[in-house]
Structure formats: C-alpha cells, structure tokens
C-alpha cells in the first residue's frame, strides 16, 4: 500500500533574503540621504543600526559608486576635524524622485503581499 505522498523541498530562504536585501538596500541608502549628506562610514553605522541590510559593510562602496554614476547621488569632499577630507554623498533630484517612486511602489507591494499572506493564514 502506498504511503502518504511526501515532498521534501529545500526552501532557499537565505538566497531569498539576499535577493530582497539587494533589491531594497539601494533605496534605503537613498532614503537615508534625504535629510543630510553623509559619508560612507555614517551610512554603514545607520544601516548597521537597522540591522541585516548589509551582508558586509564594504559592499556599500561599489553600490555608492554605481549610484553616483547613475546620477542618483553626487559627492563633495569635506574637511573633517583632525582627519583627512571625506567624500560626502548627497541626494540629487533624480535620487529624490527615485526614493519617492520606491516608497509608493513599496507601500503597494507590501500591502499586496501582506494581504496574500493573511489570506493564506485565514
């Protein structure tokens, strides 16, 4: 007699989380720059406080470099007290538009997914 059918499926949860992080971290960085220009170290500290958005701190620099070449942020060098000049990142108008669009899209996306997940639980 045939037993109950069993599927063993490995849920690629870590890969999924990485992909989700990759998708949103750029916009989180842009959102952090909405009110003040920040240098890389400050951005890392803030992302660290939020927890889990950066797999490793150094990966923010390729991201910032690409965002700069995309025109989402621009940079300026500022002298710091007792230290060497630092490259500060600030949001451009294109970057501001990107954050606004992301926020609208994110709210819609989150609402949809929450709704589906709640339906599944119900």
């Amino acid at each position: 007699m045939q037993g109950p059918l069993r599927h063993t499926v490995r849920v690629p949860i870590e890969g999924m989380a990485t992909q989700m992080r990759k998708g949103v971290v750029e916009y989180c960085v842009l959102a952090m720059l909405r009110h003040a220009s920040l240098y890389g170290g400050e951005l890392i500290q803030r992302l660290r406080l939020q927890g889990g958005l950066l797999t490793s701190e150094g990966t923010i620099y390729p991201l910032l470099s690409r965002m700069r070449s995309d025109g989402l942020v621009d940079t300026e060098w500022r002298e710091t007290e007792g230290g060497s000049p630092r490259r500060y990142y600030r949001l451009t108008r294109v970057g501001q538009q990107a954050v606004s669009e992301f926020k609208r899209e994110w709210v819609r996306f989150r609402t949809t997914v929450d709704g589906i997940l709640e339906l599944g639980e119900g």
Binding site: T59, Y61, S69
Partner: protein, 210 residues
C-alpha cells in the same frame, strides 16, 4: 601584536581587494579602494588601542574582498552596458570648446553632438552670447554707422557747425561711446566666460566616470 604587523594585515587586505577588483574601470576601482581604505582608517582610529583580533574582526565586518569585487561587478551589470563607457574628453569636446567662441556655428553643432554637456550647458554655450566673437566684427561697422562718414565739425567763417554724430550734444556722444565700449567689453568677455564654464562642466563630467 605589534602595530607594524597589524598594519601589514590591513595592507594585505587592501592588496587582495585591489587584485580582486581587477577588470573594473580604473577610476571606479580607485574610488572603491580609496573609500574602503578611509573606512578602515576611521574604524581603527575609533578603536584606539587595537589588538590583532580587533583588526581581524574589523576586516571581517568589511567583508571578503572577493565578495566586494563581486558586488562591484554585479552593480556594473545592473547599471547597463552604456554606463560602462569611460567618459573621455575627445576631439569633439576640445573642438567644441575652441570653436564655439571663434567659429560659433561649427562649435555649437559640436557642442550639441557631444554627450559631455547637459542640455542646460548647451543652451548656455549657444546663447551666451549668440555668435561667439562673430558679432565683434560688426562693431566697426556699427561705429561707422553711428559716427557717420560725414560726421565732422568746421566752419570757414569761424562759426562752428557740426554734422552727423558730432552734431549730437556732448552727453549723447559720451553715452553712445560708453555704450559702445561696454558692448565691446561684453562681446570680448562673454565668449571667454562661456568657454571657461563649458570647460568646468566638461571636467566635472569627465571626473564622474565609473
């Protein structure tokens, strides 16, 4: 651990990172490397007295150089092939800068053909002033028109009679002279200022390479 050995640990990390970043456009590679070097220096300064474990922990937090290099390559991939082009100042840009003041129509066409300037910069190059130094050639003709070939004073019988420009009141003559000088000065300076502005924008564009 001696400070020298800790320094060596950091130097080895940065060297590995530099090697892993090979293949990335040079300026982008240098930018990433500079930023991470600065980040390490900041964090080490924050640590104060540092042990080998502290520094190893810091480097671990910053991440595996291979992972950072992969992120850099992924980001380049996401940015699209067009943005991989290195922004080099070429003959079009140089000729546009040189010719816009002197041979305005040709310079302006090159200005609009080049991707180096934004629409606003191109408008500035086209409109301030229109024609580059060409309108300057019209100044002698304008002066001649205002002064007039028959503009002279004289009188055989001792009475002073004037014609043309010279017949105008002195204050009007002075005003026209001042205006002419001002126009000439503007026509001389504006193309130069425009060329300087376009050069500044070009350097900024060129510096924003990937």
């Amino acid at each position: 651990m001696a400070a020298v050995q800790v320094d060596q640990l950091v130097a080895d990390y940065l060297q590995t990172l530099d090697q892993q970043l090979s293949g990335i456009a040079p300026l982008r590679r240098a930018e990433i490397l500079d930023e991470i070097t600065q980040h390490i220096a900041d964090e080490r300064a924050r640590l104060g007295t540092e042990s080998e474990a502290d520094v190893r922990n810091l480097l671990e937090r910053i991440g595996d150089p291979a992972e950072i290099a992969t992120a850099a390559r992924d980001d380049v991939g996401n940015a699209g092939q067009g943005q991989l082009e290195v922004r080099r100042i070429g003959p079009i840009e140089v000729l546009a800068l040189v010719l816009t003041p002197f041979i305005w129509p040709v310079g302006v066409i090159l200005l609009w053909l080049s991707p180096a300037w934004r629409g606003y910069d191109k408008l500035v190059g086209t409109l301030v002033p229109p024609g580059g130094y060409i309108p300057l050639l019209l100044v002698p003709a304008t002066g001649l028109f205002l002064l007039g070939p028959g503009s002279s004073c004289g009188g055989a019988d001792g009475s002073q009679s004037c014609s043309g420009f010279a017949s105008q009141p002195i204050w009007q003559q002075d005003l026209i002279t001042v205006l002419l000088v001002a126009v000439v000065a503007l026509l001389l300076v504006l193309p130069l200022l425009t060329a300087l502005y376009l050069t500044w924008r070009l350097r900024k564009w060129s510096a924003q390479q990937i």
